[in-house]
């Protein structure tokens, strides 16, 4: 079963004016389900197409199963590719689409037919074998596209936003179907998506990309709990960002002064120099709310500005005393809800926060989704 190694790959377009993939290195392990996530235009589809051999890198090498893919055309790489638009051949019915791979490689007719039947039954589409793509729903077309890639005998599955064109409910169902299929068949999969929730739900590991670079690779838990980059903290899940300065470090805790002379401590600081400008990131669910103005560790006083009931959780927008705003999410059934205008104290545990160096081009630029 294949693993994939991308070694220092760079790809540019427009005579070098656009750097789509910028010196990227990545390892995908055998039988791993890895997602490439990032905002539109970050290079994730370009990277996928480089691995598939549809385009060639300007620099670097790609290895599949430790074999260099230099000058190896896509038809010889043994990968299956599921396109964003499915790319089902409009002049062929479902059966011909799915058996195209074995047929074009002149595999034994009986084996090709058996493969086709097997994959269509896996996708619960065998009864629609005679239908043409124009007669299928979006979800069906997506399943035919997956079946086609599998029937070609691919052991490495590349999925380019396969669920992007589907409505939310079908997306939620199919994402698990795809993962289960990949795991049951023991395939290696690289799944491109801009939907971080989708990536979190189905991936063994996630690689976060931005502007052609990979910022962090890790399990969903690692990325969520320990983001190594401001952008990752913002893109994966949600975070509150507060600007401040480092006052000092004491017993493993970094002391921080926020705007309005508010001070807090953090146990996960990637900086430590006194007077260094920083950004403190705290997830909404890591913040606690208490009624009234309380003196507590990492306590910040404020007022409730907005309340949004979201079912399982309730979302509170709190205006702090220093004019900063934070979002706090709390289980809806945990106690009496807070009211608009109510005075509250927001607090958090030092271990549940992260401190990052203040980005040179400003916080807004660093968090921009492009």
């Amino acid at each position: 079963m294949p693993d994939v190694k991308v070694v220092s790959v760079t790809k540019t377009f427009g005579d070098g004016k656009i750097v789509a993939v910028d010196d990227v290195s990545l390892e995908v392990h055998d039988k791993e389900y890895l997602s490439l996530v990032g905002p539109s235009g970050c290079g994730k589809t370009t990277l996928l197409r480089l691995i598939a051999g549809l385009i060639q890198p300007d620099k670097g090498e790609i290895y599949i199963d430790n074999v260099s893919m230099k000058n190896v055309p896509p038809e010889d790489r043994g990968v299956g590719f599921v396109f964003q638009t499915y790319a089902l051949f409009p002049h062929m019915n479902v059966w011909r689409n799915v058996t195209y791979g074995p047929h074009i490689k002149a595999l034994d007719e009986k084996n090709a037919a058996a493969l086709g039947r097997e994959t269509l039954e896996m996708m619960r589409l065998y009864e629609r074998s005679d239908a043409y793509p124009s007669e299928l729903s979006g979800g069906m077309m997506q399943r035919v596209a997956v079946a086609r890639a599998l029937a070609a005998g691919a052991k490495l599955l590349l999925l380019d936003e396969p669920l992007g064109a589907l409505d939310a409910k079908i997306r939620n169902e199919l994402r698990y179907d795809i993962r289960h299929l990949v795991k049951d068949l023991g395939l290696t999969a690289i799944h491109v998506t801009h939907d971080q929730a989708e990536a979190m739900a189905i991936s063994d590991r996630i690689a976060v990309m931005r502007k052609g670079k990979i910022l962090q690779v890790g399990t969903p838990t690692e990325l969520y709990m320990n983001p190594e980059h401001l952008f990752v903290a913002n893109f994966i899940g949600e975070s509150n960002f507060l600007e401040g300065y480092v006052i000092g470090v004491d017993e493993g805790l970094t002391k921080i002064k926020l705007r309005g002379n508010l001070t807090v401590n953090s146990a996960n600081a990637k900086v430590g120099e006194k007077d260094e400008r920083i950004v403190l990131a705290v997830r909404p669910e890591a913040l606690r709310l208490q009624r009234g103005l309380k003196k507590t560790q990492n306590g910040l006083q404020g007022k409730v500005k907005d309340v949004t009931f979201e079912g399982t959780v309730t979302r509170y927008e709190i205006l702090l005393a220093n004019e900063d705003r934070v979002i706090v999410t709390m289980p809806s059934l945990a106690g009496e809800p807070y009211n608009m205008g109510e005075e509250v104290t927001v607090s958090f545990e030092p271990e549940k926060s992260h401190v990052f160096p203040y980005p040179p081009r400003g916080l807004m630029d660093e968090l921009k989704l492009e």
């Binding site: 598939a52 051999g53 549809l54 055309p73 896509p74 038809e75 790489r77 990968v79 299956g80 590719f81 396109f83 638009t85 790319a87 089902l88 051949f89 409009p90 002049h91 195209y100 791979g101 047929h103 074009i104 490689k105 002149a106 086609r148 890639a149 070609a152 590349l158």
Partner: protein, 556 residues
């Protein structure tokens, strides 16, 4: 408020009224039926009684049938070889990475814009005279006859196929081929099993256009045919008093068979299966290799430059001596019998072209909108969409002849100039309507809805939304009409009497060039060469004008 603004406001206002819209479409339909469709059909139909006069003359029947057969055989053969040569050329332009790409792309249109009479003379000089490649072989390499006719038709139909296929390849979603490659198909296999089947409608469309162009060509064919006779030459030769019966016979058969072939292609074409089931991975791998691709590109470039472009432009070689031997001065001063006829003929050609273009733009526009937007319902619009093809596929000489029969049969005295204009209107109408209808249908209808919701009346929607977006096709269609009209010989010859003083420039040049042809080959005339050179120059200027007018704008 100025006069223009007042008129625009008035037109905007009245365009809201349903009666105005129906009146506009009605006028467009009426024009199409009364001027384009009915006259040629009725003209022939009313004289069908003369059929038996020909049937009772076996020698004449045989000659006519032979000529008609030659027309269709050549048109079908030319259509096929144009596809064989044009598709690789289109591939080269649309997909290639060679430094020759831009050169080929720019030059590929040249044979199309060169007036066919100039093309005919150019090919004759290249293949048949000692000044051309024949000189290297000590004599006439290819004599006037069916081979030269095929070469000629191949050359002027080639750009049509290239442009249609380049457009199709540009519109084609390359992702299908990528999908096939990831499934294990080599490039040639992916192209054969996926790309070509998807492009089939465009391939059929390109074939039909090449076929129609070949079947309609008269003037240049007369120059290169020698003793060979096709339908157009047969009609032109017999277009003298007392030969009405064979002319009716030949014209009606040409029209009927052309329509029948078109109908067969429309019905059977979509059912034509491109072989996708047989596979040969190792063979297709070899064909996809770099060496084979280079060989293919090399053959494409060779065919384009040596068989098509060089012969097409060879006539310019005969124009160069004219720059230094005093011919140019004579030309500019209109000295000598040739130039004294040339400039008035050119002016006449351009006048007819201008009038035909203007009339078709104004009166063809409603038809184009009606077809594109199905204003008269799906079925009616589809019927008109089909009928509009008739002037393209029917040989122009037959169309012109039957048109002439119709208008001369009326109890009116119609000036010959008007007959010629009617013929040119009929022949060029479809180019504009089809081009514009296709462009309008590509515009998302929601854009019109958005404009209407924002308060624009129908005429305002047309002038502020539709027209700017279809500017390219609008002007391209107009230019094609104009150049087609200027180039048109067959219909003109069919409509005017043999002693008519009306001579368009192609008719004039055909007569002069015929006089240069000898048993040992065609002679070079710097006058004729310069005359052809002027035609080419003016055509290039018109093409550059088109590019200037539509530069960089949104193109549909």
């Amino acid at each position: 408020m100025g006069a223009k603004a007042r008129i625009t406001k008035f037109l905007d206002k009245i365009s809201s009224k349903p009666i105005t819209r129906y009146a506009v479409y009605f006028i467009g339909i009426l024009f199409f039926i009364m001027i384009i469709l009915v006259p040629p059909i009725l003209g022939i139909t009313l004289k069908l009684n003369l059929f038996m006069d020909v049937v009772n003359d076996p020698a004449l029947t045989s000659r006519a049938l032979n000529a008609i057969f030659n027309s269709f055989a050549i048109a079908i053969f030319v259509g096929l070889i144009d596809l064989a040569a044009g598709i690789p050329a289109a591939w080269f332009i649309a997909r290639g990475k060679s430094r020759w790409l831009n050169v080929v792309d720019t030059l590929a249109d040249l044979p199309f814009i060169i007036p066919t009479v100039a093309l005919g003379y150019s090919l004759l000089l290249f293949w048949n005279s000692s000044y051309g490649v024949s000189g290297l072989f000590g004599g006439s390499l290819i004599s006037p006859g069916w081979v030269l006719v095929i070469l000629l038709h191949f050359v002027f139909s080639f750009p049509i196929v290239v442009r249609v296929m380049v457009g199709a390849l540009m519109d084609y979603q390359y992702v299908y081929e990528e999908a096939a490659r990831t499934l294990g198909a080599h490039p040639v296999g992916a192209e054969r099993t996926v790309t070509f089947p998807i492009l089939k409608p465009s391939i059929i469309g390109a074939f039909v256009l090449a076929f129609a162009r070949s079947i309609s060509e008269t003037g240049a064919t007369i120059i290169v045919a020698g003793t060979f006779e096709n339908g157009a030459i047969f009609i032109q030769k017999l277009n003298t008093p007392g030969n009405l019966a064979p002319l009716v016979f030949a014209s009606s058969l040409l029209i009927l068979i052309a329509i029948a072939i078109f109908a067969v292609i429309q019905v059977l074409g979509p059912r034509l299966k491109i072989p996708v089931h047989r596979v040969s991975p190792s063979f297709e791998r070899r064909l996809s290799g770099k060496k084979m691709v280079s060989l293919r590109d090399g053959v494409t470039l060779f065919t384009f430059f040596i068989i098509i472009l060089l012969p097409a432009l060879f006539v310019l070689g005969s124009a160069f001596p004219a720059l230094v031997d005093g011919t140019l001065n004579n030309a500019l001063a209109a000295k000598g019998p040739f130039w004294q006829q040339y400039w008035p003929s050119l002016a006449l050609s351009y006048f007819i072209g201008f009038v035909a273009t203007l009339v078709n733009v104004v009166l063809g526009l409603p038809m184009a909108i009606m077809i594109a937007r199905k204003r008269m319902g799906k079925t009616v619009s589809a019927v008109f969409d089909l009928l509009v093809n008739i002037p393209i596929i029917v040989p122009s000489v037959a169309l012109g002849f039957s048109l002439g029969l119709f208008w001369r049969g009326l109890p009116l005295t119609i000036p010959e100039l008007l007959l010629v204009i009617f013929a040119h209107i009929a022949i060029t109408y479809s180019y504009f309507v089809k081009s514009l209808a296709a462009a309008i249908s590509r515009i998302d209808f929601e854009m019109e809805n958005a404009a209407r919701i924002l308060g624009a009346r129908p005429f305002a929607v047309f002038r502020t939304i539709i027209l700017p977006l279809v500017k390219y096709s609008f002007f391209a269609g107009a230019i094609i009409m104009f150049t087609r009209s200027v180039s048109e010989t067959g219909a003109t010859l069919a409509v005017i009497s043999p002693t008519s003083p009306l001579k368009t420039v192609p008719v004039l040049l055909v007569n002069y060039i015929k006089s240069l042809i000898t048993p040992t080959g065609v002679g070079m005339s710097s006058e004729v060469g310069l005359g052809c050179g002027f035609l080419i120059l003016f055509s290039v200027i018109i093409l550059l004008l088109l590019r200037f007018v539509i530069r960089g704008r949104g193109r549909y």
